[in-house]
Every structure is written in C-alpha cells, then in structure tokens.
Point group: C2
Chain length 362, copies 2
C-alpha cells in the first residue's frame, strides 16, 4: 500500500493506494473515529459491483450505513439530485458526527462531497474513487460541487475528505472508454509539473493500457503526490493550483455546449489540452517537439485529438468559456506550457487568437 499525505493542518488526510483496499474501509473509518451512522453515495453503475461489499465492511467495523444510489453520468451532478440526497440523509437521521462515503467516479465524489460539505453545515466525508480519473484527480484536493445549466461546477465548495481510498482493483472493471478518459488527467500531470512522469508515460503506455497493477500503483501515487503538493501550496486556487486547470477552460466549454452528453470529461480535456498546447506554441514558445510529443501521447492513449467545430458551435463554445469560473474582469485566462513539465497560469489570451485557432480544422 502506498500512502500519500495531503498536508493541510488539522484537515490533513491520507490517500491510500493499492490492491484489495476496499476490505479495509470499515477499519479505516473506525481509526478516524467517525460517528456510527453513515451514508454510502454511489451510482447505478458502481453500486451493483461494490455497494454490498462496502456496506458489509462498514457493518463489520460497527457502522450503520444507508445506501443512496444516484443515476450514473454527469447529469447527476445537479441541484435536483442534490435535493434527493439531502432528503435521504434526513430520512436516515444522519447527525453532525455521521459521515458520507463517496463510492464511484468523479461525479459521485463531487456530488457526495458537496452533500457532505453542506449537510448540517458539514459532516465527515470519505472518498472511495473507483475510476482512474477520480483516483488521480477529482477525489483529491477538496473541490466538490454540482453543475448548473449555465456551466459546470458553478456551485460548490472547498471541502476536504478525511481519507481517500484508491483500490486499484476497481479499475479492472472500468469500461475501456472510461479508463482511457482517465489517462487524459494522468498525462496532464506530466505536462504541467513533471517531465520525468511524462517520459515514463511515453515509455510505459502499453503496460498502463493493460492496467497492470504495478505501473498503475506507481503512476496513480505520483499523480496524487503532485496534486497534494499543489493543493498544499494553494488550497483555494488563488495561485499555483490553477495549473491543474491546464486544458480545462476549453474542456469545460466543450462539455457544456454538448450538454455533458458527447464527451467524457477526459476526452474533453484531451482536446482542451491540445488547443492549450497550440496556444502555448504561438504565445510563449512551447517547442514544436514538445507540442508534437504531447499530441502523440494523447493519440497513442486512444484519446480524441481532432476538434471540428461549426461556426455556431464556436460561438457557443466561446460564450460558455466566458461563464467559466476562471474568468476575471471578463477576460479569458489560460494555463500555458513553456515546455513539458513547466506551465504557467494567468496568461490572458485575446479572444481573436483563440477564435482563429478554433476555426482551423485540426
């Protein structure tokens, strides 16, 4: 078992990464002295696989759990599903010392985390991410929230879990498309922060694609380490944490204009990162060779690399980006790469520049 510490004072917590970890959930919660009652929030994809097992390990450790199953997919990150969750917590009489277990991917983690952040003004919360994307990104760092029709994650909070338990075995049952989507975030860590990781991914992609536990363990742990370092430096994204948004302004825009239906998150940010890399080449001199390596790795991983937008889609994309949380003074700001492993945040990008780039067929 690999352990990554997220150092945030009295809100510090551990990320545990390894095989066969689900079985230890009950004991881990007991160790954290969480209250007796809890709710496991999961979705219709994940609950059939793991909910019974998870509740059994909780029961063995003396916890009474209720199960709340939400629909699978991004649409569950809505105010409507949120209201359903709250009502269930009231029915099951959760109290201030009770806690919530998020069992699923990024959607479940974000939703369940926001439920935990706001029910009774905040109750305990344990992340059990079961997708690659959630294990390397969304379950760590405390960003939780739901979407509005107007945009993704417009409602939310910074709220840290008490523990993140990444059981690598749960990745084995992940549909191929979901798994590949998660690789987009993995590759992102290489681009924004760690050239050595990027090189390792180039080298080990075949192993990683086969979901070998050994390479998965080391890659997931390294991604979590990077995220923990960044979150430690800047919990509420007033600075360096913005680096994690590389490719995300465009990615979120793409998700929004397709009504969260066409692209998985990783697919959208794969395209977003490629556009950001092109902007980086034009505006701050990302070497052509680095841009090529980036495009090549996304392609080899099986992620979408071609973005063709009609004129009307381009306008809607630009409008959606303006609603992004990262907008300041009405100006679009981007994370750009100077080279692989070295990125900078807060670059203002002229709308015309972006529009021209998006109008080129790529």
């Amino acid at each position: 078992v690999r352990v990554v510490n997220v150092p945030l004072g009295h809100r510090s917590y551990e990320i545990k990464i390894g095989s066969d970890l689900l079985a230890s959930l009950g004991n881990e919660c007991a160790r954290l002295k969480l209250g007796k009652r809890c709710a496991v929030i999961s979705d219709t994809n994940v609950a059939p696989h793991y909910a019974t097992f998870v509740r059994r390990t909780l029961a063995k450790a003396g916890f009474e759990s209720a199960l709340i199953t939400v629909p699978a997919g991004e649409k569950a990150k809505s105010l409507k599903t949120l209201a359903t969750c709250y009502d269930q917590l009231a029915v099951h009489r959760l109290e201030r010392k009770s806690f919530i277990v998020a069992l699923g991917g990024g959607v479940v983690g974000d939703l369940a985390g926001f439920v935990a952040a706001t029910y009774l003004r905040g109750i305990g919360f344990v992340q059990v991410p079961t997708t690659l994307l959630a294990q390397v990104d969304s379950s760590v760092g405390g960003k939780v929230g739901v979407n509005l029709k107007a945009g993704k994650n417009l409602v939310g909070a910074f709220y840290q879990p008490r523990l993140v338990l990444c059981d690598l075995d749960t990745l084995k049952t992940l549909p191929e498309r979901e798994y590949v989507s998660g690789l987009a975030e993995v590759i992102k860590y290489g681009i924004i922060y760690d050239a050595a990781l990027f090189g390792k991914l180039e080298h080990s992609l075949p192993e990683l694609t086969k979901r070998r536990t050994k390479i998965l363990g080391s890659v997931v742990a390294r991604c979590c380490e990077i995220k923990a370092e960044i979150v430690h430096q800047d919990e509420t994204e007033s600075g360096v944490r913005a680096l994690l948004n590389f490719g995300h302004t465009i990615g979120h825009g793409l998700e929004a204009i397709s009504n969260y239906g066409k692209y998985l998150h990783g697919e959208a940010i794969s395209l977003g990162q490629l556009v950001a890399a092109k902007l980086s080449s034009r505006l701050i001199g990302l070497p052509t060779d680095d841009a090529r390596r980036i495009a090549r790795l996304f392609e080899r991983a099986g992620l979408p690399t071609r973005l063709k937008l009609k004129g009307s889609e381009r306008s809607r994309l630009l409008a959606a980006m303006r609603l992004d949380k990262k907008v300041s003074g009405g100006e679009l700001r981007f994370v750009l790469a100077r080279r692989i492993g070295k990125t900078e945040f807060g670059h203002s990008v002229p709308a015309a520049e972006l529009e021209e780039l998006l109008s080129q067929s790529t």
Copy 2:
C-alpha cells in the same frame, strides 16, 4: 458609529452600527477592494424600501449591481429559491471576485450567505441586516443556509461576511411584530452571557420598545460584541458557540411542526427559552427568582409566553427535535441556565422529563 471587530484571522471583519449607514455602503465595499460586479439579494418586503438607494450608493462607488428579489418569509430559505438565485448570478455573469449584498432580515441573510458560500465555490459577501433579529444575531458569525422540509437550516455552511452594516434607521420601518420578535434574541444574550445586559434591558425596555436610536445603538452593539466573542472562541460550534442555541432546539421544533407559518423565529425561541428555563430550574437549580424575571421580561416585551400543545402536536414536536442538528447519538442535548448570565451547554435531557413539562399547560 460603533464598530465591533470579529477576530477570525485573515477572515476577520467589522460590524458597523449606527444611523444613516446605508449611504456609506458603496465606499465600504470599495475599501474592501471587492470586484466590480455584485448582486443585491433582497425580498419583496425590503427591496421596495431600500434597494434603489442601496444600488445607487454602489453605483456611485463604481460597482455594477444586479437586483435579485426573493419572496418575503421563511419559505424563501428553500432549495428552490436557491436555484433561482444561482441562475440569476449566471445570467449576470458574476465572477470569482464579484460579491453579494444581503439586504434584509435573517432569511435573506441566511439564503444570500449560502448563495455566496457556494457560488463558484465561494464569493465575497456583505451583510446589510434590516431587522433587529438579523442585526443582533443572524448576520454575525457566518452561519448560513436553507431549510429542508425535514427541518430548519439542515443545509448550510460556515461562511463569514466581509462586512456587516447595521443601519439602525432601517429598524424604524419594521412592523411591530417583527421588531418584538427580534427582542427575543436580545434578551437571550442577557440570559446566556451577561447579567448586566439583562438588567439594562429590564430597566430600559420602554425606551427600547420605542426604538430610540441611543438605546438601540448600545444594545445592538453589546449583542454583537457578545456574539463576536463567542464566535471568535468557537467558529464552527464544537463547544461554547452552542450557548447561542439557548431555547433554539424547542424553538426550531415549534417552527418546523407549524411549517414555519405560525410563529416568527423570535416568538418560537421566546417559548423555547421559557421551556429551557423551566428545565433549568428542575435539573440544575436555576433560582426561582431568575426564572420569574426571565418570564416577566419576555412578557413585558410582548413576546408569547404560553405554549399549549395537543398530544399529537407534542409527539410531532419531539420527533422534529430529534432531527435537530444538535442531536448526538440520538440523545437530546440542551443549553441550560444556572443563573441569569451563566449558561451551560451539552446537558442531556431525558425525553420523559421534556414530555412531561410540555404536557403541562403553562
């Protein structure tokens, strides 16, 4: 102008109390370097009186404000109104540096504060309380939230404002019943923390009832000081802050079983405090004379002091109290008074004791 500081590290803020303060709102927001865009959230009672004036002072100081008017009354503290507010903020393109002005009573402050706490994971927030209850209690200390059908304030956050501006002149237009309701919280501060304040209230009640600016200024400021002291010691209610809930477990229960329609908050906690005083006499020896002074002051203030419940209402009240956030391990815990000015939290009260007391006609 009286200034009370709420010391909470980098989230410290000032409460300003005085006449004719609304006119200074724009400059105060400029001094805090808040972003250019903001939304004023108010209700159908308060907006017609003050919204135009408030927006004009904001405009003079260079701010662009949108006005969001919600229905007056406790029912606006709902997930439904919350969703409406979020949508409006998106329409008006509020950004991370934008802020929200809560212009109104406790309902508006709690709702608008929760909107601010959660929109874009938290934006700036200024309280402009226009009721006595909001000025002495709900606008200070950072508790924000909305109600569920299952209970009051079940969804919320701890989120501190950047400034609280108490313009005493706004109290002059308050309906009598609203004003008197606010006195229930004022009296509470005397009981829980400050025997001298209690004595002063006994002595100055006629002046206070006439809403004289001088006595109002000193009383509102003292209540805010007490609340600031308590919140400073215990922001998230893991201890001493619970004192502020004197009378509130029963009060919230009464509000819930009457579907927030029969009692104003101050009326409900007036009754709640009287029951808590009786429990205090029985269980921890609150002197009979103190209990009598408490009952007498509520009565003189024009607050309800008689509670008659049918058997079915009693059962519903007890059930509602069990859903209260302050329940721990299924046990009802109360703030009880040892004498006026000296209270203790965390007293476990046997359900039978409470039921018997509630069954007596009082």
